[in-house]
């Protein structure tokens, strides 16, 4: 569909399942505030009834504009698993196609200054952690990756920190602390992020709730 786009990894890691204690791999930075989901995946790629082929749509128009110089096209970032972003990433459309495209390109976790509400929720339910770093730390991390794109990044979800392992170019390990709201944090580390079965299991509580909503009984009974 789009020209000269390649999936990130030759053999990407399996999609998330179960508890997510950590995430490890190289990082890629897409710098800038307010990067909306239309940019993450333009609407024409949404014409599908399956998410399977969406990797080619990731940042498709930005990549075409930059003619090979987009971070997702640079050779040193092929196979990257951790996406570094800035403020309000994923704003705009609720399309889950956006995180699906990123995941199918190879991304397994994001670190940014802030995320749009809906994008964060979509990632969570897919088992893709979106962790928050301070402005200074986000910039320092992006700078470190710009200097040493081959550096191995280890995201410790339990401890809420990210470590940049030393390499030949920059020996010595660096680490930054991250934050994540308590609920999503627990859901990811315990593997309870894909919660359809938990929701369905609350059959009795669902019935109780429905019975106290007057609009479900045509306002005949149960009105308060």
């Amino acid at each position: 569909m789009s020209s000269s786009v390649q999936p990130g990894a030759a053999s990407p890691a399996p999609f998330p399942s179960g508890p997510i204690p950590s995430c490890r791999g190289r990082a890629v930075a897409v710098v800038g505030d307010d990067i909306d989901t239309d940019r993450i995946i333009p609407a024409r790629f949404l014409k599908c009834v399956s998410f399977e082929a969406l990797a080619a749509g990731a940042f498709a128009d930005d990549r075409r504009e930059l003619q090979g110089d987009h971070p997702f096209d640079r050779p040193q970032h092929q196979g990257a698993a951790i996406l570094l972003v800035n403020r309000n990433f994923g704003c705009g459309s609720s399309r889950e196609h956006a995180p699906q495209a990123l995941m199918r390109w190879g991304i397994r976790a994001l670190i940014g200054e802030s995320f749009s509400e809906i994008f964060f929720g979509n990632c969570l339910v897919m088992g893709i952690p979106c962790l928050t770093a301070s402005h200074a730390d986000a910039l320092a991390l992006q700078q470190a990756i710009a200097t040493d794109p081959a550096a191995e990044v280890v995201l410790e979800l339990e401890a809420l920190e990210v470590r940049l392992l030393g390499s030949v170019e920059s020996p010595g390990e660096r680490r930054w602390s991250l934050s994540l709201a308590q609920g999503p944090h627990r859901m990811l580390v315990t593997g309870q992020w894909d919660g359809t079965s938990q929701l369905v299991a609350q059959d009795e509580a669902l019935r109780r709730t429905a019975s106290r909503l007057p609009y479900l009984s045509s306002f005949v009974a149960g009105s308060s």
Binding site: S93, D194, L206
Partner: protein
């Protein structure tokens, strides 16, 4: 922490359970689906061996991919045809009502649910579409969700959610003649920015809001998400009830009286506590136009495109990107910027009162040479009502095309799109790069009347100069009938 607000009350009523992960399971009163974000959800449901728990609480329509010229089946675009056919199959299999093409009730999901009376105060409303915030106009808690969450609602009629904070946005005073609800929300987003609403629900309140019609409130709440707020709402009042009464899904008789009592009891009380409050003076708001690539990059029509020096340091990088992309000159007036395409429609501004406001400007004038201008009613009901009062004829006589209902060029998942570097005057909600179907296409957001003004002038123009200088020139509120 907020307390006693409509948001708190509706949240509490719909709380099913606290989940092991720490989220709250929230019952969803009304689930709306369309062809773009539902097919994968139904597939996932099948994979899990689950059915639809409350098929009567899910309602479907088709809007994003429908052509607005010929809607004959099969569509020329086989992918669009496959998406609609899949929706039809899924709805038939699970017993879900689908308001399809030609049913008389098809249209943009956020236009049809209110006009059918499906959206009511006190409900939780979810849809795989970020502009679900629209339904907050009724005093519902309404928000967009992703496809995996659509799956969850189908399976359980509930969602795992985390409670938001509540910011009251109080607007006082009268809007100037020629200033629409669209200008109000573009102004609010300009002042607060696109990130301010993250983590918040927006309660719109104050005298100005109370004076708005339901259609104006829908425009306002529709764009709460553009300010980062996943949901925005207005407390239900007599205007809300007058709009709802007599609609197909509204309660009748004794039930109506009980419903109104219940709806009234949900409004934020005088004792309500908010996490934050911001106050605006309506009289200071001018017709507003965006100049950049986020909905917060807006200015009054008589202002100039801000220079980097006039902006806060953290706004400059995206402004620089906008200067490059939009090719507008910092410091130059926005009025007079030539446009190529004029689009009136969308879930923001595709309702009858929007079309009336645009028609009042178009009447007796002509679309400027070389400009493509078209009007896309938000639903089959809007189209029928507009045609019944001759608005289609007004538009056609002025050189506008009159189209069939759908999302059209708001997001260009259908044949309506910008070409190359074309620049549009658009009554839609997003001016993101590439949003309207061309990777280099440019969008200027404005009210429907302002789009009509741009169409007849050939460039961005102040609609107040085209309207008779009487208060009667402002669009009349939509009638609650039909």
């Amino acid at each position: 922490m907020s307390a006693g607000t409509l948001y708190d009350k509706v949240w509490e009523l719909h709380r099913v359970a606290e989940l092991p992960g720490g989220a709250t399971q929230l019952f969803i009163g009304l689930h709306l689906i369309h062809e773009v974000t539902s097919p994968q959800a139904f597939s996932a449901l099948r994979d899990l061996g689950l059915g639809v728990r409350h098929p009567e609480r899910t309602v479907a329509t088709v809007d994003h991919i429908v052509p607005t010229t010929s809607q004959a089946r099969p569509f020329a675009d086989p992918l669009a045809e496959e998406m609609l056919a899949t929706l039809e199959r899924n709805c038939a299999e699970h017993g879900i009502t689908l308001h399809g093409l030609g049913s008389g009730r098809q249209g943009i999901v956020h236009v049809i649910a209110p006009e059918l009376g499906l959206t009511q105060p006190g409900m939780t409303v979810a849809c795989g579409d970020s502009h679900t915030s629209t339904h907050g106009a009724f005093g519902a808690i309404a928000f967009g969700i992703g496809t995996s969450q659509v799956r969850d609602v189908l399976a359980s009629q509930s969602l795992a959610m985390n409670k938001l904070k509540v910011r009251r946005i109080r607007v006082e005073g009268a809007l100037q003649s020629g200033v629409a609800a669209k200008d109000l929300i573009l102004h609010i987003i300009r002042m607060l920015g696109v990130k301010a609403g993250v983590g918040y629900a927006y309660e719109f309140a104050g005298g100005t809001i109370e004076a708005l019609s339901m259609e104006e409130r829908m425009t306002l709440c529709n764009m709460a998400i553009e300010g980062g707020a996943r949901c925005g709402y207005v407390n239900p009042d007599a205007t809300t009830f007058a709009y709802l009464q007599g609609r197909p899904q509204a309660p009748v008789g004794e039930a109506w009286a009980r419903a109104v009592d219940w709806w009234r009891s949900l409004a934020s009380g005088a004792e309500a506590v908010f996490d934050d409050e911001v106050v605006f003076d309506a009289a200071l708001i001018a017709p507003t136009v965006t100049w950049g690539i986020t909905p917060a990059q807006g200015i009054g029509v008589n202002e100039t495109v801000p220079t980097a020096a006039q902006l806060e340091p953290d706004e400059r990088p995206i402004a620089e990107e906008a200067y490059r992309y939009m090719d507008l000159v910092p410091g130059a007036p926005i009025a007079g910027v030539p446009v190529d395409v004029c689009f009136i429609g969308s879930c923001t501004n595709g309702r009858l009162s929007d079309l009336r406001a645009a028609a009042a400007v178009a009447k007796g004038r002509q679309v400027a040479p070389g400009i493509k201008a078209f009007v896309v009613p938000g639903s089959e009901q809007v189209a029928a009502a507009a045609e019944a009062e001759g608005l289609d004829a007004v538009f056609r006589a002025a050189g506008f095309e009159w189209r069939e209902p759908g999302c059209s060029m708001c997001l260009a998942m259908n044949p309506d799109r910008l070409e190359g570097r074309q620049i549009s005057a658009s009554s839609s909600n997003r001016n993101f790069k590439g949003r309207q179907g061309s990777a280099s296409g440019r969008t200027l957001l404005m009210s429907p009347a302002m789009v009509a003004a741009a169409a007849v002038c050939g460039h961005v123009a102040d609609v107040r100069d085209l309207l008779p200088a009487t208060p009667a020139a402002s669009p009349s509120p939509a009638s609650p009938s039909r």
